[in-house]
């Protein structure tokens, strides 16, 4: 460590005790004056932002907006704000370093936060990751393009369809494969319903973290309707391996239109309940307004995407900016808000659930007829009935699943809008049946990296709120 970043000195926003008072004559007077300040502040509630580090009361719960802006200004996009905890001596005896995680229940997995506290104020945050690192990029190099989706679907385990879709799109781009309209529509339907399920789970766990215990049960209940449909379609509740290069694994089950309609009805009814429960709840508002703020500039510099960026006012949705799988033919809005705090992330995600259901309804109304997978025999195995009649079909089937198919040499980047943001796959083929390199741009990775920006200078109690609002999936961060 050559030089400590400036933000370290910049975030001591609380003036030393008694700094604004007249200098006391003796130590005894100093103690009295300090206690007087504490007492006055206790009585007055939310007035002067004095010495918030030393005690907890209503006043200290307020975010100190002016000071926070100064801290964030120092970090704007150009300065690295984490990772220097080891190199800098704590400047006062008041600071202490607390570890949250990796087993902390509110970290949504095995995320560890090292937090340096000055009283209750967070001076620095250092996210420590890697507890779930499984080397999936390297594993991807040892599996064929056919086996690839089984690997990538386990990364972001709350949005498996998006993982599969990004991988399949990349492979198909290299192959130059045309996907039938019905397969494309099925893909859109499944990914949008997956977004609904993921946001519902997020609302449930975040509600739990903020003390809204019933929210946890409700969110899980509505999500169950979506998962039941997934199970009916793919046979599995997660890690489906349903979207594959060339199309999807199976056609939709009979009566799927009614299922989608039932999901829409159930979730929309639940959504109205959640908004009544949370969005107008004074306790909830206190815990989310002005908490975990991130500005649009910081979002761009740190690569923050998804609902976080949209809550900060960036109108960035890959479904609009880089449309995929024919999603541009459906009508939907991209909700944005301007405050960039936890409350706005709730607004954005709830609205996204509505928009995803809107897309799902349009898909159900306009589902094209046709095949659910490509006719290209290079990537599509023969139908099951053919295996009983034709030796060649059997051999072909066998070879596709053991040796895989060769993909032309090239490099391609394909990204989809996952519930957490830009989920991209950079796929390199050297002309063989296995990828030469598979790099996954995980949205949670970039979002978690920006946690110090959101948390520095705020209160320790807000950590839970801000962290939950990021919706980190550690399988996606660590891969």
């Amino acid at each position: 460590m050559s030089k400590p970043p400036d933000s370290v000195t910049g975030d001591t926003e609380a003036p030393p005790p008694g700094a604004e008072q007249a200098p006391p004559e003796s130590p005894g007077d100093q103690g009295k004056a300090k206690r007087r300040v504490v007492h006055d502040l206790w009585l007055s509630g939310t007035e002067a932002p004095v010495d918030t580090g030393r005690f907890t009361d209503e006043g200290a719960q307020e975010m100190l907006l002016e000071e926070e802006a100064a801290v964030l200004a120092g970090q704007r996009g150009t300065l690295v704000v984490d990772d220097y905890a080891a190199g800098v001596e704590p400047s006062t005896e008041q600071t202490q370093i607390v570890n949250m995680g990796p087993q902390h229940p509110a970290t949504h997995g095995v995320l560890r936060l090292q937090v340096e506290l000055d009283g209750e104020t967070i001076r620095r945050v250092k996210p420590i990751i890697g507890y779930l690192h499984t080397g999936m990029e390297r594993t991807g190099e040892t599996l064929t393009f056919m086996q690839g989706p089984t690997n990538v679907t386990r990364m972001d385990y709350l949005s498996p369809f998006h993982n599969e879709l990004a991988f399949s799109l990349a492979v198909e781009r290299l192959l130059g494969l045309e996907i039938p309209p019905r397969a494309q529509a099925i893909r859109v339907l499944m990914t949008e319903l997956n977004r609904v399920a993921s946001h519902l789970l997020w609302a449930a766990t975040t509600g739990l973290d903020l003390g809204a215990l019933s929210m946890m049960i409700y969110g899980w209940r509505e999500r169950e309707a979506v998962l039941a449909f997934f199970e009916k379609t793919t046979g599995l509740r997660m890690n489906h391996n349903y979207i594959r290069p060339g199309g999807v694994a199976a056609d939709l089950p009979d009566g799927w239109e009614e299922d989608v309609a039932a999901i829409e009805e159930t979730v929309l009814a639940g959504l109205a309940d959640y908004e009544g429960l949370l969005m107008e709840n004074p306790i909830f508002i206190e815990r989310t307004h002005g908490v975990g703020v991130i500005t649009p500039e910081e979002c761009l510099a740190y690569g923050v995407t998804g609902p976080l960026a949209r809550a900060s006012g960036i109108d960035f949705d890959l479904r609009k900016a880089f449309p995929y799988s024919g999603i541009e033919q459906y009508e939907f809005d991209v909700p944005t808000t301007e405050h960039g705090d936890v409350y706005d992330r709730f607004i954005v995600r709830f609205e996204e659930i509505r928009q995803s259901l809107r897309i799902a309804r349009q898909v159900a109304e306009t589902m094209p007829l046709g095949d659910y997978r490509s006719e290209d025999r290079k990537v599509t195995p023969p139908p099951r009935a053919r295996l009983d009649q034709s030796m060649e079909a059997l051999i072909h089937h066998f070879k596709i699943f053991t040796e895989g198919f060769k993909v032309p040499a090239g490099e391609v980047y394909e990204a989809v809008e996952s519930p957490r943001g830009e989920l991209g796959m950079y796929l390199v083929s050297s002309g063989g049946a296995k990828p030469w390199r598979l790099h996954v741009r995980g949205p949670s990775f970039a979002n978690v990296q920006a946690l110090p920006v959101m948390l520095t200078g705020s209160l320790i109690a807000d950590t839970i709120s801000a962290l939950a609002s990021v919706d980190p999936v550690m399988g996606d961060v660590d891969r």
Binding site: M1, T78, R138, L300, V304, K320, A321
Partner: protein, 200 residues
């Protein structure tokens, strides 16, 4: 809330995009194959290139690397000859116009060094640490080039093609126990064909 969606860039559009930005930064090459706009620059112009592009493409998506090697420890060797090198690449985009570019540069394997991008994009921090531990590429000027995923003191760089997947070498694939050994030629010649016939 949004305007009408911009058209998805066709392959030719990607080539045009690469050419436009390539000209801006004096790129070595600019291609648009497979609908992905890519420009290649020399390593000494790495930071300068990103600083110029950041004005037009402010969104930093990711940074990573590729190990181009003729020999591999695991998996299939490359089809055809490859030039031994590391390729470092980033993705920058403009979120409002729907334009995105891959910027890449080649590094020698003997001394893979590159200037850091954290001055330009704060978000490059973790990505460079990941590339450092996974490939052994040094990013000069990085404030904290320590392991990100791997434990301290981990030896080797797991995403290099020479890195063996030890778990498979130490412990054979457990599925193998289900498979009966095929009779060898020696068995048959020594008059032990029982194993062969029992099943019939």
């Amino acid at each position: 809330m949004t305007e009408s969606p911009p058209e998805a860039p066709a392959p030719s559009a990607a080539a045009g995009l690469a050419e436009r930005f390539g000209k801006m930064v004096g790129a070595l090459s600019a291609t648009g194959d497979f609908g992905t706009a890519r420009i290649r620059v020399s390593p000494d112009r790495w930071v300068e290139t990103h600083r110029t592009l950041a004005e037009h493409l402010p969104f930093f998506s990711f940074l990573s690397a590729i190990d181009w090697a003729g020999e591999v420890a695991v998996g299939d060797p490359p089809e055809g000859d490859v030039e031994e090198r590391f390729e470092v690449f980033t993705r920058l985009s403009d979120v409002s116009k729907g334009e995105g570019v891959i910027v890449s540069t080649d590094l020698s394997k003997e001394d893979p060094r590159l200037a850091t991008l954290v001055e330009v994009f704060g978000g490059a921090n973790w990505h460079e640490r990941e590339a450092h531990e996974m490939f052994g590429i040094f990013f000069e000027g990085h404030p904290h080039l320590e392991n990100l995923y791997l434990p301290d003191g981990f030896e080797g760089h797991p995403l290099r093609k020479t890195f063996p997947l030890l778990s498979r070498e130490v412990k054979p694939w457990p599925g193998m126990v289900d498979v009966e050994d095929m009779p060898t030629t020696e068995n048959v010649e020594a008059g032990e064909p029982e194993a062969w016939e029992e099943g019939e």
